[in-house]
């Protein structure tokens, strides 16, 4: 359909669906807040997502992920702020927004006496697809989620992994631009997780969908996300590019922050020499502890990057046979742990 839309002038109203442009913005969350009584479940949350982007939405339990996603999915209304999906405000034009979104909640009920194909067919009808369009959409989803073999299986009898696939399939049935997946990987075995990740990757890269995905499986999100939003107690702590967050995290390290440095000497360095090095290391500034195991040393280092470089320089100057020297690389998990403070509300 997109191909046949004639180029028309965009007037400056929020009602018009903007024309597809390279990597146009699909989702804009602006100062979103949602209160339940005194509880600020979501508090001034803002972030964006463009076409073809996978945005990870990370936060501990009760951070407000589901609440935010429900607002974007037009199931709830914010107390303040707004979310714009493909140019439409979720408050003003929920009907238009609904055409552009596919929402997969963390758990969803299943009908009895219904098989996989009937289920997809029903949702296709519910989205107003008719005749051949509907058949095509159902076939496409069956193929994409590889549920073809289970087409006639009762949906109540599906395994967790398969029903998550079906849930994803359902969100895709009307070909929405924005997919909102709330903890899709929860309860899946490692293989199913990898498969799910591949599906999400495929959706973003090949079909140019925007995916907003929340999860507790942080390391996994790191690989597929273009950007992440880390949220805690309703507030956004960090958002942006995954690499950017790592870089910021390293650069923002100040004196006094504790982190680990790993160090390895050539093998065959004898015990006495090891002892000497161990002693020498403990005398160095910013080194608070040093563990030795074989030819590996694990330092607890409180200096910043500059001071770490100076330590290396001194090691070389003292002609210690070092073959490895690195700060332990931070995973998304570490970043997450150091950014969030474990606030629960």
């Amino acid at each position: 359909m997109n191909e046949t839309v004639p180029v028309e002038l965009i007037t400056a109203t929020s009602e018009l669906v903007p024309l597809p442009a390279p990597s146009r913005q699909v989702l804009a969350v602006r100062h979103l807040s949602r209160y339940f009584g005194d509880l600020h479940a979501v508090d001034d949350v803002s972030f964006d997502a463009a076409e073809g982007q996978v945005v990870g939405f990370i936060g501990p339990n009760g951070a407000g992920k589901t609440t935010t996603m429900r607002i974007i999915a037009t199931l709830d209304v914010p107390n303040h702020g707004d979310a714009i999906v493909c140019g439409n405000s979720v408050i003003d034009y929920p009907d238009r927004v609904r055409r552009h979104i596919g929402y997969m909640p963390d758990s969803f009920g299943k009908y009895s006496n219904m098989n996989v194909e009937d289920y997809l067919d029903f949702y296709a009808r519910a989205y107003g697809l008719k005749g051949r369009d509907r058949q095509r959409a159902v076939n496409h989803v069956l193929a994409f989620t590889e549920l073809r073999k289970l087409q006639y299986k009762s949906i109540k009898a599906l395994s967790k992994g398969m029903s998550q696939r079906l849930g994803l399939g359902r969100t895709l049935i009307h070909d929405p631009q924005l997919l909102i997946l709330d903890e899709p990987a929860a309860g899946l075995d490692p293989r199913a997780r990898v498969e799910l990740r591949e599906l999400v990757h495929l959706l973003a890269r090949e079909l140019n969908k925007t995916v907003l995905i929340s999860s507790h499986i942080l390391t996994e999100l790191g690989e597929i996300c273009d950007s992440v939003v880390i949220i805690e107690a309703g507030k956004v702590l960090v958002s942006g590019d995954v690499d950017e967050i790592h870089r910021q995290k390293r650069a923002s390290r100040v004196e006094g922050d504790l982190h680990e440095v790993l160090l390895r000497t050539v093998s065959g360095f004898d015990q006495a020499q090891h002892e000497t090095l161990h002693k020498w290391l403990l005398e160095q500034p910013f080194v608070t502890a040093c563990q030795m195991s074989g030819d590996c040393f694990r330092l607890e280092f409180t200096g910043n990057e500059q001071q770490q470089a100076e330590l290396l320089k001194r090691l070389i100057e003292h002609e210690f046979p070092i073959i490895e020297f690195h700060g332990k690389t931070q995973t998304l998990e570490d970043a997450f742990m150091s950014i969030t403070r474990g606030i629960t509300q």
């Binding site: 807040s33 209304v77 009895s112 006496n113 219904m114 509907r134 095509r136 496409h140």
Partner: protein, 527 residues
């Protein structure tokens, strides 16, 4: 639709150019209907019922023909066979189908599948329509299962088409009514525990209503004359039932609509339409059938045809409307602000919010009074006993009072906690009303115990509508105490109106800009 369709164009070639007729037909139908009928055909509950129904009818025919043999031709067995066929049918359409409808809606809500549906292009109304249409299809299926048996009965002696048609047509409408009632009940249960409780109540109601079918065995039933007035009567009953279905459907839609959306307007508009229909029909009736002025029939007619339906509508809709949240949600307010200037003020009483609901109730009460004056002068000719006039006066006063109290409670509770749930407001209102109604009786009973004497009605019992209404129908005229009661009721309604003026003013201001009192409450929530 672009990618999903284009990437699979190869698959499309395998499907025929034009889908089969049945599919094209199903395309036009409500998706819920298609889904539910498919599910019902696979469910043991419904298929089993259908089989039992047909089995029971076969059994009746078999046992009947074996027992009576050729006597069937000479004696009036028609009514008996009809009743024996009809009772299994009533069990199916009066109990099983409404209960299945209840269950399907309930599961949709409790399993959260409803939320997933409501963000498709189906809205709450289409979902409820789908459920109702499914129920009607199942009813029709049950009817078609017994059609051959009815045809057989029509050949027997003593069978007459008028009564048979009468009861069969009413059966369809009444069963649809019960299904819509079941839908409303299904929206009340918020958890599995409540569900058990409501299921029991619903079953009791269904069994009770279905037991009316036993009147088929009454001898008078088969002598219903085939006259114009019989069909008029049938028509009116069906119209009333259609009205009830309409209202209940709207209540269900309102119940399942998100709180952030407009729950009120649908119910209120249907309520107004029904009232106008009732008033119009009565007026029309008065034009064409000159009823003797001041006779008992006329006043009964007015009470049954005009006052009772109006009172029912006002009580049901008023109760829900006046206990709503005072302010419109941001979504509704912005939608209202997009309405052209004057229109939004015209729509004022139909827009959500308890103060607007209060105005809605008052407006309809006054309109009703005006209609009464127009149709028949309530202070003179239409009731020689004057009872009805006083009844109407007291009832109106109570309606004003209670709607005022409900609105005030709703506003006060919400001023303290903007997120206060409607259930709490309604519970508070009901507690206040029932406590105030019971209190005078308790006091009087205690005094009577102590003094060992009987105290009659005093105006101090004004807070008990029960006592007042009883006194009116007993005394006939207006005793001194009743006069005082009416005055007290009138004055307190006025006081409540004045107290609620602030809320009404707020509701008007709210409709003028995005920064109305509604957004103020939301800011208040932050503090």
């Amino acid at each position: 639709m672009s990618t999903a369709t284009t990437t699979t164009s190869t698959e499309a070639t395998s499907t025929p150019d034009r889908p089969p007729l049945a599919d094209r037909f199903a395309d036009r139908m409500n998706p819920i209907l298609v889904k539910e009928v498919r599910q019902a055909m696979k469910s043991r509950g419904f298929v089993g019922t259908l089989m039992l129904l047909i089995g029971a009818c076969w059994l009746v025919s078999l046992v009947g023909s074996l027992n009576f043999g050729s006597a069937l031709e000479y004696y009036a067995f028609g009514p008996w066979f009809f009743a024996l066929y009809f009772i299994p049918l009533v069990t199916a359409i009066g109990i099983v189908v409404p209960f299945l409808t209840y269950n399907s809606m309930l599961n949709e809500r409790l399993d959260d599948t409803f939320e997933m549906l409501s963000i498709t292009t189906l809205n709450a109304r289409r979902i409820v329509n789908g459920k109702l249409l499914t129920a009607i299809s199942l009813i029709v299926l049950c009817y078609s299962a017994i059609t051959p048996f009815i045809a057989f009965t029509s050949l027997l002696q003593g069978f007459r088409w008028t009564p048979a048609l009468f009861v069969m047509v009413i059966g369809i409408f009444a069963s649809t009514g019960l299904c819509s009632l079941a839908l409303v009940v299904s929206t009340l249960a918020s958890n599995r525990l409540m569900q058990g409780f409501f299921s029991l109540i619903l079953i009791a109601v269904l069994v009770y209503c279905s037991s009316f079918a036993l009147s088929l065995f009454e001898p008078g039933f088969w002598t219903i004359p085939s006259t114009w007035s019989t069909f008029m009567g049938l028509g009116s009953i069906c119209m009333v039932l259609v009205g009830v279905v309409y209202l209940l459907r709207e209540v269900t839609v309102a119940q399942i609509t998100f709180e952030s959306d407009n729950r009120a307007t649908g119910v209120r508009v249907v309520c107004s339409m029904l009232m106008v229909a009732v008033w119009g029909t009565t007026w029309w009736y008065f034009q064409f059938f000159t009823l003797p002025s001041g006779s008992r029939t006329t006043s009964m007619f007015l009470v049954n045809g005009l006052a009772l339906p109006t009172a029912f509508l006002i009580i049901v809709v008023g109760y829900f409307s006046c206990t709503e949240r005072p302010a419109m949600s941001q979504r509704v307010r912005r939608r209202v602000l997009r309405m052209p200037g004057g229109l939004r003020y015209l729509a004022f009483p139909w827009l959500p919010g308890c103060s607007r609901g209060y105005v809605f109730v008052l407006m309809h009460l006054f309109l009703f009074a005006a209609i009464l004056l127009l149709i028949a002068d309530p202070f003179g000719t239409w009731d020689p006993l004057v009872i009805r006039r006083n009844f109407a006066l007291a009832a109106t006063a109570y309606a004003m009072l209670y709607s005022g109290i409900a609105t005030l409670i709703s506003r006060l509770l919400r001023a303290r906690n903007p997120d206060c749930r409607s259930t709490l407001v309604r519970a508070t209102f009901l507690t206040v009303v029932s406590f105030s109604a019971v209190l005078p009786h308790l006091i009087v009973a205690t005094i009577e115990q102590v003094q060992q004497s009987v105290i009659g009605y005093t105006w101090l019992m004004f807070s008990s509508p029960w006592a007042t209404m009883l006194e009116i129908s007993n005394s006939g005229g207006l005793s001194e105490d009743l006069m005082i009661t009416l005055q007290v009721l009138g004055i307190s309604s006025l006081v409540l109106f004045v107290l609620n003026c602030r809320g009404i003013a707020d509701s008007v201001i709210e409709m003028q800009s995005d920064q109305g009192p509604g957004s103020a409450t939301q800011k208040g929530a932050k503090a």
